[in-house]
């Protein structure tokens, strides 16, 4: 080692000719494909499910269930399945869902787009785009702190919000009580509530609403500005150790970032 000069700045400059990080390369390819004319086409399925939109709840109630996707779509209350506006719209876009109103009149895709754009029912356009992006990749997505089914609350020890606030050992029996609690979460989207938007599970054919387990990560949609360090900390406090990801939707492009706390190791 004595007398050996390893070299000065030239070694650091060599980093410029590093191998290109492959992930960025493949992302660029993706971008090229998405800007070509590949808008999703209207699909007509042979076997559709049927749902009735409930304006007061801000959710759709499943009337006829067809297809395997119901294992990981919709929440179960009193033996019935209810879908959020994003779940409903997603299935409609795929042509897998026929939606009607209280008078059994068909509700069109355009009417649903207008509903989402209005920002009511706990969702907004960008949140729907984030939902759609991940759902089409097979991820299982639920609104944060909304139980998939009441069985899952009884089986888990953790207090889960059936209503807007955290309450443990809450027996939710009457359907009207359920409707009331759900409407708080599926009502007006409050811009200033700093809380995770979705619970996300990796694609898994063994997913069960009665015992979903912990989500793999929670997702927060960035609204208007880059979240500050303090805001990330507020969000993390609500995650109870589950990783948080922040999603940004700009002009239809959905990107995801992690702001993980780390600690560089002490080296020898």
């Amino acid at each position: 080692m004595e007398g050996k000069v390893w070299g000065y700045s030239s070694n650091e400059d060599n980093d410029d000719v590093d191998e290109v990080y492959l992930q960025n390369a493949s992302d660029d390819e993706e971008d090229l494909h998405s800007t070509s004319s590949s808008l999703p086409k209207l699909q007509f399925r042979n076997v559709k499910s049927k749902c009735r939109w409930n304006e007061e709840m801000g959710m759709a109630e499943v009337i006829e269930k067809n297809g395997k996707m119901w294992v990981s779509t919709g929440i179960v209350r009193s033996g019935k399945i209810y879908t959020s506006i994003e779940e409903t719209l997603y299935l409609m876009e795929l042509g897998a869902l026929h939606l009607v109103d209280n008078e059994d009149r068909s509700i069109s895709l355009i009417e649903m787009y207008k509903k989402v754009a209005g920002g009511k029912y706990g969702c907004c356009w960008e949140l729907f785009e984030a939902y759609r992006h991940l759902k089409s990749l097979g991820y299982i997505i639920g609104r944060h702190d909304v139980a998939w089914s009441l069985k899952s609350i009884r089986s888990s020890q953790k207090p889960v919000a059936v209503e807007g606030a955290e309450e443990s050992n809450q027996q939710v029996d009457t359907s009207s009580k359920v409707e009331l609690s759900i409407s708080k979460l599926f009502g007006e989207l409050k811009i200033n509530d700093l809380k995770p938007d979705f619970d996300i599970y990796l694609p898994d054919s063994r997913f069960r609403k009665s015992s979903p387990g912990d989500p793999n990560f929670l997702l927060y949609l960035s609204r208007g500005h880059l979240p500050s360090r303090a805001e990330i900390e507020v969000l993390e406090k609500q995650c109870e150790g589950i990783p948080l990801k922040v999603c940004l939707v700009t002009e239809g492009r959905v990107s995801f970032f992690s702001f993980d706390k780390v600690e560089l190791p002490i080296l020898p």
Partner: protein
């Protein structure tokens, strides 16, 4: 990210890793420390940096420990060497192996005087120095990150042996007022992560909390705390079970 040792093939990379293990940075730095102390090494304030004349063993050790850069060879084997403010202060204040002259009578400046002088040259010096020393104390090699649009890049050992894994930005824990408002909008995040990603580095942000200390003296450093966070893009396409193909029935 796993460390990326340098070498043209798998064997040379393993050799690089072995070399680093055989002579860890902590050992090199303590050798530098004792050598400098023994020879009463002295530097000079030069506006925004510190210069010193070095040769022989000291030149070697500065190189191996990754402090500073050679400016010019002055005589046979004697170099005029340049240190950044952070590097110089680390050698003076923490390793206590360097003295710096700046006065007419050539007497060395005290740590307090150096601190005030460096602060006058660089407003964010206290935070930048805290980050520099925080990482150096953990035995990481810390160098300027200017060419990548960051404050520092850090290596696990000498850049000849290993690629750097992180590009470091120094930010304030609570508000960015005194740190030039970097990373304040999403496009900054896109920029930095994409640039660093293209050279296989992760963006590492160190948030400094001054904890209400005023920074008149370097003693305030002891009460600064640091929160380390990586900011990275996540690709949902690359993070799925293979079972998704059979599961999706839509």
């Amino acid at each position: 990210m796993a460390p990326r040792w340098k070498g043209k093939d798998a064997k040379s990379k393993k050799d690089a890793e072995a070399e680093a293990l055989k002579e860890p940075m902590s050992k090199i730095i303590s050798q530098l420390q004792s050598s400098f102390v023994q020879s009463n090494t002295c530097g000079f304030l030069s506006d925004n940096c510190v210069h010193l004349a070095v040769q022989g063993e000291q030149l070697d050790l500065l190189d191996k420990a990754c402090f500073g850069r050679p400016v010019r060879i002055v005589e046979k084997d004697m170099y005029w060497f340049q240190l950044t403010l952070e590097e110089a202060f680390y050698l003076c204040y923490f390793l206590k192996c360097l003295e710096i002259n700046g006065r007419a009578d050539d007497s060395p400046l005290s740590n307090e005087e150096l601190w005030r002088y460096f602060k006058s040259k660089k407003e964010a010096f206290p935070c930048f120095y805290k980050v520099y020393s925080h990482l150096r104390i953990k035995n990481w090699v810390v160098r300027s990150g200017a060419q990548y649009g960051v404050d520092f890049i850090v290596y696990r050992h000498h850049p000849a042996l290993v690629h750097s894994e992180y590009g470091v930005l120094v930010l304030s824990h609570d508000n960015d007022a005194d740190l030039n408002g970097r990373l304040s909008v999403w496009s900054d995040v896109h920029c930095s992560t994409r640039l660093l990603g293209s050279v296989a580095k992760t963006l590492l942000v160190l948030y400094i909390n001054k904890n209400g200390q005023n920074d008149e003296s370097p003693l305030c450093l002891a009460n600064y705390t640091i929160e380390e966070r990586t900011i990275s893009r996540w690709s949902p396409e690359q993070c799925r079970e293979r079972s998704v193909l059979t599961f999706l029935d839509l």
